[in-house]
């Protein structure tokens, strides 16, 4: 029996526009007093008219273009009707028949996941469930109701939980590069609903298990564990019941992060139950080809392009190129440090400092990168000093962090701390003569066994307080003891 998981992902991303999608209320809803960012439109009061936020529409298209999608010539909003208290109007404004963009793809390693569509819609309010004198009550805050939301729907091209995770990370990275959302899964500005079923091949027969949509996954690990759980559950269910996919047996399961298991949540309303129909109060939206090209121009160089360029122009390896481009600000800082037309030795040197010193420092201190603290000249000075063996690579990392923190030239820092390597032969020779005269026993040992020179080098380094260039020290000692 051969089992292949078939996984599609619906990703919701909250855009960080200033105002909401269809009204001018502030879109801020974190740490804000409940129901202080509402108006007749987002409260669904009678007669209120929705007017779409132009920036949000443009950002949805921008994301689509970054994912290789094609914009629809004409788009419109539709009402998705369902009754739930977190949605005051009784319907969600979304795009159904004509989303802003369709048919894209995203590269995951050497595999490709097709994107079906990315459409614009609005978020719902937040619910808090409480118990009051034994009565279950729900408290509603409409500050989030009407915040712009983009939904990105993939084709079911994902074949494992790991690949789903990689897809989300890549999506998150692209969205952050575009600067249109924080795309923070833990904070809820990026949410994901996997749909999972299995293709089971057994003695020339092929079966497909019923589709399951998983809701309430609130972390990246949650997505992975939930999908793995569901693959296992469906395999076992198929072995027991043999039930296969039909038009009517798609189910919605919730994810219980405490118990690490999925549970049947509700029978899903079919799309006909939502009774979609065009929103009569919002005219069609058509972006001209010129406007689309203007939007395309605002897309920065994306991670895939950067990685290829770093490998080609700077001879960086795949690992380093990936690390440097993981975050757009980090890669910007790296490029700033490189200055104009860097050669590949300098680029590699600087890459090591960014990964080995700056990134480590930021991770340990939990600070955000401050690009203003990056000075190209400092990196150049440090590179020259290391090339001339005045500074060891260990010291270079140390002074890079200090330079980042203080804004001082790293070479000056090394000088002031006595961390400059002495590469002056005369000076080292003076120290070497002293070491030889004070360690006659070790000199005898060396004459019997030249490998024991390490002891004398150590003594010389000690005498120089660690500043001697060890290679030069070795050479001079060998010369004197010949």
């Amino acid at each position: 029996m051969k089992i292949t998981p078939i996984i599609g992902l619906e990703v919701h991303v909250e855009l960080k526009t200033k105002s909401k999608m269809f009204c001018s209320c502030s879109a801020e809803h974190f740490h804000v007093d409940p129901n202080t960012h509402t108006c007749p439109t987002c409260l669904g009061l009678p007669g209120a008219l929705p007017v779409p936020n132009k920036t949000a529409c443009e950002w949805c298209i921008k994301l689509g273009l970054a994912l290789g999608c094609t914009p629809n010539e004409s788009s419109f909003f539709e009402r998705k009707n369902y009754f739930y208290p977190d949605l005051a109007k009784g319907y969600q404004l979304t795009q159904y028949e004509k989303p802003f963009v369709i048919n894209g793809k995203i590269k995951i390693g050497d595999q490709e996941v097709r994107i079906n569509r990315a459409h614009m819609e609005e978020d719902t309010g937040k619910s808090v469930h409480i118990k009051d004198n034994g009565q279950e009550l729900t408290l509603i805050d409409y500050n989030r109701c009407g915040v712009p939301l983009v939904e990105i729907v993939s084709e079911p091209d994902i074949t494992s939980a790991q690949m789903a995770k990689d897809y989300l990370l890549k999506m998150q990275q692209i969205i952050r590069y575009l600067g249109i959302s924080d795309a923070d899964i833990e904070k809820g500005s990026m949410r994901c609903e996997p749909t999972v079923n299995l293709k089971i091949e057994d003695n020339d027969q092929v079966f497909y298990t019923p589709l399951v949509e998983i809701k309430n996954v609130a972390s990246l690990t949650g997505v992975q564990t939930a999908i793995d759980f569901e693959i296992h559950r469906q395999t076992e269910a198929f072995k027991q019941t043999g039930e296969v996919k039909s038009k009517t047996n798609k189910n919605t399961f919730g994810w219980d992060a405490d118990k690490n298991q999925t549970f049947l949540q509700r029978e899903k309303e079919g799309s006909s139950d939502y009774r979609y129909f065009p929103e009569p109060d919002i005219p069609h939206i058509e972006f001209t080809k010129e406007e689309i090209e203007e939007i395309r121009k605002t897309i920065p160089e994306l991670p895939d392009g950067k990685i290829t360029r770093y490998k080609k122009d700077f001879s960086l390896n795949d690992y380093d190129a990936n690390l440097l481009t993981s975050d757009i600000d980090f890669s910007k800082a790296y490029e700033l440090a490189l200055g104009q037309n860097p050669d590949s030795t300098f680029a590699k040197f600087t890459a090591n400092l960014f990964i080995g010193a700056i990134k480590t420092h930021l991770n340990e201190s939990q600070e955000n990168l401050n690009i203003d603290k990056i000075n190209s000249i400092f990196f150049k000075n440090l590179f020259d000093a290391v090339s001339k063996s005045e500074i060891s690579s260990t010291v270079a990392k140390q002074v890079t962090i200090e330079s980042y923190q203080t804004g001082k030239d790293p070479v000056e820092i090394a000088k002031s701390k006595g961390l400059i390597q002495v590469s002056d032969s005369a000076e080292i020779e003076k120290l070497a003569i002293g070491v030889i005269s004070q360690n006659s026993k070790a000199v005898e040992d060396y004459k019997k066994n030249p490998a024991s020179i390490g002891f004398l080098i150590g003594k010389l380094m000690q005498a120089s307080k660690g500043s001697a260039n060890p290679q030069l020290a070795k050479e001079i000692l060998e010369k004197l003891l010949k």
Binding site: T17, K18, S19, S24, C25, S26, D33, P34, N35, T36, H37, T38, C39, L43, V51, P52, N53, K54, T55, A56, C57, F76, N81, Y82, F83, Y84, P85, S127, V128, H129, Q135, E136, L137, T138, L139, I140, D141, Y142, E269, D273, P278, P280, I282, P283, H284, I285, E286
Partner: protein, 99 residues
């Protein structure tokens, strides 16, 4: 649907979507009423709409958009002023999670 007849199951399904609980007696009253509404609208099905683009609205407006700017919202008191029940700045509704 070509026929306007709807079944009791359809009626119950629609009521469920609208989150309305109906008594049996009400269902019996409403079923023929709903049917007559649909029959009335059935006249639309007689029109030949082949090769005709759907009309979404009667004027030819498009691209009515606003720039991304914040305008003052309701204060909390005003926002909650028509709610039957509130608590700590929230609207209060019957519990929505079923156990």
């Amino acid at each position: 649907m070509s026929s306007s007849k709807i079944s009791m199951l359809d009626l119950e399904h629609i009521a469920k979507l609208a989150r309305i609980n109906l008594f049996e007696s009400e269902k019996i009253t409403f079923l023929p009423q709903l049917e007559s509404v649909l029959e009335y609208l059935d006249v639309l099905n007689q029109a030949n709409v082949e090769n005709i683009e759907p009309t979404f609205r009667v004027n030819d407006q498009k691209n009515v958009l606003r720039s991304d700017e914040i305008v003052d919202s309701f204060d909390q008191k005003t926002a909650l002023s028509t709610a039957p029940k509130t608590q700590d700045g929230y609207f209060v509704v019957p519990g929505t999670i079923k156990k």
